[in-house]
Symmetry: C2
Subunit: 341 residues, 2 copies
DNA sequence: TTGTACGCGTTATCAG
DNA sequence: CTGATAACGCGTACAA
């Protein structure tokens, strides 16, 4: 790694002062034609590229924003990250992404790291699903930073939040199932007690009530593929020939829907002929399952974009919307069949 | 956003000098017990967290490394990114991830950005598959930085590289197919002219030659799911009842294998009964296809880890391996069936 | 054991 | 139009 040239090296070579070099780099038009030439050639010769950190220090900014997500390996987040990155780039920011693994302890550590790196703001998908109180220390740290929340709220602090209309999405999923003639709809639910899950369950129940359907049943699988797979593998044989047998399943996310699909393949239960399935999220590859999964799409890329836009406005003290709720969209594929009455 | 307290604020409040505060933060044991107390309580009171940037400036480092990948949205890379992040964190580095979208122009711009941000090193998955000459400007920039390459090499510069044994992986895939009794094996290939594709094709051909099999056939689908889907949809009906009909397909990546699977579902061709398929990569969800995909696993997480370890050693001028080749692993699932002779 | 002064690379400000 | 100087926040030699 060769020694990097500084603004002083360039100044010396061009026979001018550092300030002049700075001007040439940032506002060429205000410097005399021939000085500009001299400087430009010195810049080229030394292949000088300004040190953005040094430049930012007196301005008390970094042009970095932090992004805390549970796990980048979780396919659900990749589009979100990309949305954040793309908008950031447009505005000259860079993104520091970290994974909380849904651990509150890691989240706290990373928050501290981001603070010590003096990022200009943080986009946070709150870790852990617990409705626990937020640790005091972390909370006060948060209050000292520009924060935009994604998806989940925080007790004890108000911050702008970007989320998806979980209730509406679930509601429309179940409505769709009802429209297709299903009367016995099982809900494959996510992590108990999380707001997300509560909202989706709310949508499920509301749609049922609205249609005067009393039949309901909930299986819990923590938003996880394996868990859903196991649950179905255990549950289905028990109810196979009973009145309890649903004709359709509303899974609170695609991962669980795919887990269920996997179980049904093994159990030799035909989807959608014997049982229909609808998911939530529209993750990549949900169109490559067998059968392709009908699901409720979340605009993850858009969520990322909106979150950054809000954050950047927050940073520059412009007016912002405190609450942004994005709508979902029903994606009809082949995992739901019509049930004749 | 409240004003951030500095080491001076703490010093004043504790009635000591800034250097003493610095010592308490970085080497508490060398300062007298009661001074330490005073400082500690001032730190707590002001909830002081050191400014890492300022601290790093005189050291001429940032503890950032840059990671340039084609696209974080490409599921293949998420594990790699996580591997990089995890190792980085262990060593106190943070990662700045950017997407080149396989565009050389973007790659150049980002390289410049990373340089201006003075990252301590860069992990680079070279953009574009072209065997084109590298732009001179970019090359000289590269030479001024600590670089570790992933997967693809650069003409005109030697840098440590971490890659996977593509030849060996392809070879073992085809060997496996042969072992299962297949004699007509079609190769669903990736982007023509890329090293990766050449190596995998090499493995395919070698395995065939070694077994004295003359039958061979190659279809090109640019590593893309859609392209593979289209190719199969067009090709299969043409050869359906001819001698050209293969009994197995070796796809140069899982995406293409999944595309083929999709096509076969529509064409009502049974996999693996009528045709077997083996993929390459072992991307997430390759176990959730129908049937679950037999494939050659690439250790992507490990690649990320190795790359960072190499980079960190490069940065600290320790000895490094210039060339790290990782082995693949055959993952037997259900998309390949035995063919009786 | 503690304090002082300087350097890291840049830009804003003010003077010329 | 250009140059000098201070300031950003910290660590570190060196002095006390």
């Amino acid at each position: 790694m060769k020694k990097k040239s500084t603004i002083y090296d360039v100044a010396k070579k061009a026979g001018v002062s550092p300030s002049t070099v700075s001007r040439v780099m940032n506002a060429p038009e205000i410097v005399a034609e021939n000085t500009r030439q001299k400087v430009a050639s010195a810049v080229k010769e030394l292949s000088y590229i300004p040190n953005m950190i040094a430049a930012n220090m007196p301005r008390k900014r970094t042009n970095y924003i932090g992004l805390i997500i549970p796990d980048i390996t979780n396919i659900f987040f990749s589009n979100l990250v990309r949305g954040v990155q793309d908008v950031c780039e447009k505005y000259g920011y860079s993104v520091l992404v970290v994974n909380s693994d849904d651990s509150q302890e890691k989240e706290g550590r990373y928050l501290k790291l981001l603070y010590s790196r003096r990022v200009d703001g943080v986009i946070l998908t709150v870790a852990g699903y617990q409705e626990e109180e937020f640790p005091e220390e972390e909370l006060s740290l948060l209050k000292k930073m520009n924060i935009v929340l994604i998806d989940r709220e925080i007790n004890g602090m108000t911050a702008p939040i970007v989320k998806v209309n979980n209730f509406g999405g679930a509601y429309s999923a179940v409505k769709y199932l009802l429209k297709m003639g299903h009367k016995k709809i099982l809900h494959l639910a996510g992590i108990e007690g999380t707001k997300t899950n509560q909202e989706r369950r709310g949508g499920y129940l509301s749609a049922l009530i609205e249609s005067h359907i009393n039949w309901k049943k909930e299986l819990n699988a923590d938003f996880r593929l394996d868990a859903a797979y196991q649950k179905i593998m255990n549950y289905w044989p028990q109810i196979k020939n009973s009145d309890e047998l649903p004709t359709a399943i509303f899974a609170a996310n695609d991962l669980m829907a795919i887990g269920a699909l996997k179980a049904f393949t093994q159990l030799k239960v035909q989807v959608p002929e014997e049982v229909s399935i609808i998911g939530f999220d529209n993750i990549p590859f949900s169109d490559c399952t067998h059968p392709p999964l009908t699901t409720i799409a979340q605009p993850t890329y858009l969520m990322g974009q909106r979150a950054v836009e809000t954050l950047i406005n927050l940073i520059s003290k412009k007016r912002i919307k405190k609450f942004i709720e994005l709508e979902t969209e029903l994606i009809e594929r082949d995992s739901v069949s019509r049930r004749e009455v």
